[in-house]
């Protein structure tokens, strides 16, 4: 097979095509959105008869564009990651690390909490009736409204730093895990439960030997959603803390000073981070399920 036909057969070509299309649309949009400001600038400078090619190149190098061009964002990312020391406050890696640690802590607590609640709900009818409505209600409250409250309340009792922000991640992450695990722990067939009954297995044995393995695929799917939500929670948690550090702080600072290039590079960084985190869970999932003979 020639390299070209191999490219066409795999997933590389479709992916590359989509990426190129997005970048192309992005450039067209950047020119269209930045042109009015550029024309204003020409007018004020009493410049007339500016050729279109001049307008085109000027719209793509503005300092505070409405929509920065891809190469501007790429340059900004390069400058703030590779060319800055990691310890520098202006390093995007530094901010991404802050957000990442909040995300992971929140995700860890959220997943544990989610599993714990699910175990309670599955094993107790009272908890099922009393807890489940609250679990669902918790997600109807806009996180943006409750995030500052959590920060303020925890600060008042002397907890500050990573934990309050992580709590907001937890708040978002536990929900998909609870719902997924309740479904997963309830998924064993009657015949499998009957089998455990004929062995006089205890509830604990039934849980560890039947319900938990059955629920694992559900857990991984929920964790993928949970970790992405966790990242959103971490970013939101960084907003009311006065924009000190983290990707959320970069976003907020960027919007204060109209630094759209900075906002976009933080956004790209956040999505790359989310992609990596979800991919990481996917990798663990694949390995675990393969070992269990349930290759997905």
């Amino acid at each position: 097979m020639s390299p070209l036909s191999r490219l066409a057969a795999g997933t590389t070509l479709p992916v590359v095509t989509v990426v190129i299309a997005i970048i192309a649309i992005w450039y067209v949009a950047a020119v269209a959105l930045n042109a009015p400001f550029q024309r204003d600038t020409y007018e004020r400078a009493k410049q007339t008869d500016v050729p279109f090619s001049q307008l085109l190149s000027d719209t793509l190098v503005q300092k505070r564009p409405v929509l920065p061009a891809p190469h501007q964002v790429a340059t900004e990312i390069w400058q703030t990651t590779v060319e800055k020391k990691i310890t520098s406050k202006r390093s995007l890696v530094f901010h991404a690390w802050i957000t990442l640690s909040t995300t992971l802590l929140g995700f860890l607590i959220g997943t544990s909490l989610g599993v714990l609640i699910a175990v309670g709900i599955v094993h107790s009818g009272v908890l099922d009736k009393s807890l489940m409505p609250w679990v669902i209600a918790s997600q109807t409250i806009p996180i943006l409204a409750i995030a500052p409250m959590i920060i303020v309340v925890l600060n008042a009792v002397g907890i500050s730093g990573l934990l309050p922000k992580a709590m907001i991640s937890t708040y978002l992450a536990f929900f998909p895990v609870t719902v997924g695990m309740v479904k997963g722990l309830r998924s064993p067939e009657i015949i499998h439960l009957d089998l455990m009954h004929t062995y006089s297995a205890s509830r604990l044995e039934t849980f560890f030997k039947l319900r938990l393995p059955y629920a694992l695929p559900f857990l991984f799917t929920s964790m993928k959603i949970g970790i992405a939500a966790s990242l959103v929670g971490a970013i939101i948690g960084e907003l009311p803390t006065g924009a000190v550090a983290g990707l959320g702080a970069r976003l907020l600072a960027g919007s204060y000073y109209g630094q759209t290039v900075q906002i976009w590079s933080a956004l790209i960084m956040a999505s790359v981070l989310a992609g990596c985190l979800v991919g990481m869970i996917g990798l663990i999932e694949k390995n675990v399920l393969k070992r269990m003979g349930m290759a997905a």
């Binding site: 015949i191 499998h192 009957d194 455990m196 004929t198 062995y199 039947l210 003979g293």
Partner: protein, 289 residues
């Protein structure tokens, strides 16, 4: 006695330790039945009123017997087996299993239960599936391995111990599930249409294997089926049930020899018993139409 000949084969092949009979007078021929059911009834309360699943069941199963429950669907044959296994509770009457209540018998792990489907855990290899009840019983790893090897040999699956269930055919999966029940080393085996989902050829083969196994080990087997040839070929006693309410219509003691081969199914004795079962099913069913 033919039964003793069967036992001689048994000692050399299978090393199930025969549990000491609770009754000392073996010569008297009157030992406590393994299962003793008297006037048993079971009624399910549903929204459309009570459903009489079982009504006035009287039945004794002696040690070493192979008893089949046969009847049309809805006659309560599976329900009766589930009552014996303590998977359903009776609503009236008396039942003892191994001289005690079904619940105690279950807690003592007195029986092995084989379901209609293999019900193997997909994330466990065949070996690990068989280990499942042994883990719950708290056997050491060494004892587990010894028992697993033995039962896999018995159902001819020794080469497949490391495979996952989905890598095996339906017949092999059901054999693995029988091996899992045998690993508990129960004296009583409860089987709920274990071969119902298999094709005729595989079923014949497994019937033959199950018969050899029973003849070798002197286990008591209670077997639910809706196949007449299967019931006649395997059983020493055939219980014909009929529906609405589920009750016993006929109990046929088989006088076929204890050692059997599939050729037996062409013999006049076999056909005579099969005929009686068929008539029982027909008569029991006639109420409906």
């Amino acid at each position: 006695m033919e039964r003793f000949r069967g036992n001689e084969v048994n000692t050399s092949v299978d090393n199930t330790t025969p549990t000491p009979s609770p009754s000392p007078h073996v010569g008297g021929g009157r030992s406590t039945p393994v299962i003793d059911i008297q006037n048993l009834s079971l009624t399910f309360e549903t929204n459309d009123g009570p459903v009489h699943a079982l009504s006035d069941i009287d039945l004794k199963v002696e040690k070493g017997e192979f008893v089949s429950f046969i009847g049309p669907s809805g006659c309560g044959k599976t329900t009766l087996l589930r009552v014996i296994a303590d998977l359903e509770k009776k609503t009236a009457g008396d039942i003892t299993v191994n001289g005690t209540t079904p619940e105690n018998a279950r807690l003592d792990r007195a029986y092995g239960y084989v379901f209609q489907a293999a019900a193997l855990y997909p994330w466990r290899t065949i070996e690990k599936n068989i280990a499942l009840p042994l883990e719950i019983m708290g056997l050491t790893r060494k004892e587990q391995t010894a028992r697993i090897d033995k039962v896999l040999e018995l159902v001819e699956l020794a080469d497949f111990s490391q495979k996952f269930p989905w890598q095996l055919s339906g017949g092999m999966q059901q054999r693995a599930s029988i091996a899992r029940a045998l690993a508990v080393e129960p004296d009583l085996l409860l089987m709920d249409e274990p071969f119902g989902a298999l094709d005729e050829i595989v079923r014949d083969h497994l019937n033959d294997q199950l018969h050899q196994l029973w003849a070798k080990t002197n286990k008591t087997v209670v077997f639910v089926t809706h196949s007449i040839p299967e019931a006649v070929y395997l059983s020493t006693k055939i219980v014909v049930l009929c529906p609405r309410p589920g009750r016993i219509y006929d109990v046929i003691e088989s006088d076929l020899p204890r050692q059997r081969t599939l050729d037996l199914r062409e013999s006049p004795e076999f056909l005579r018993i099969a005929q009686r079962v068929r008539e029982g099913l027909k008569a029991g069913h006639a109420y409906d139409d």
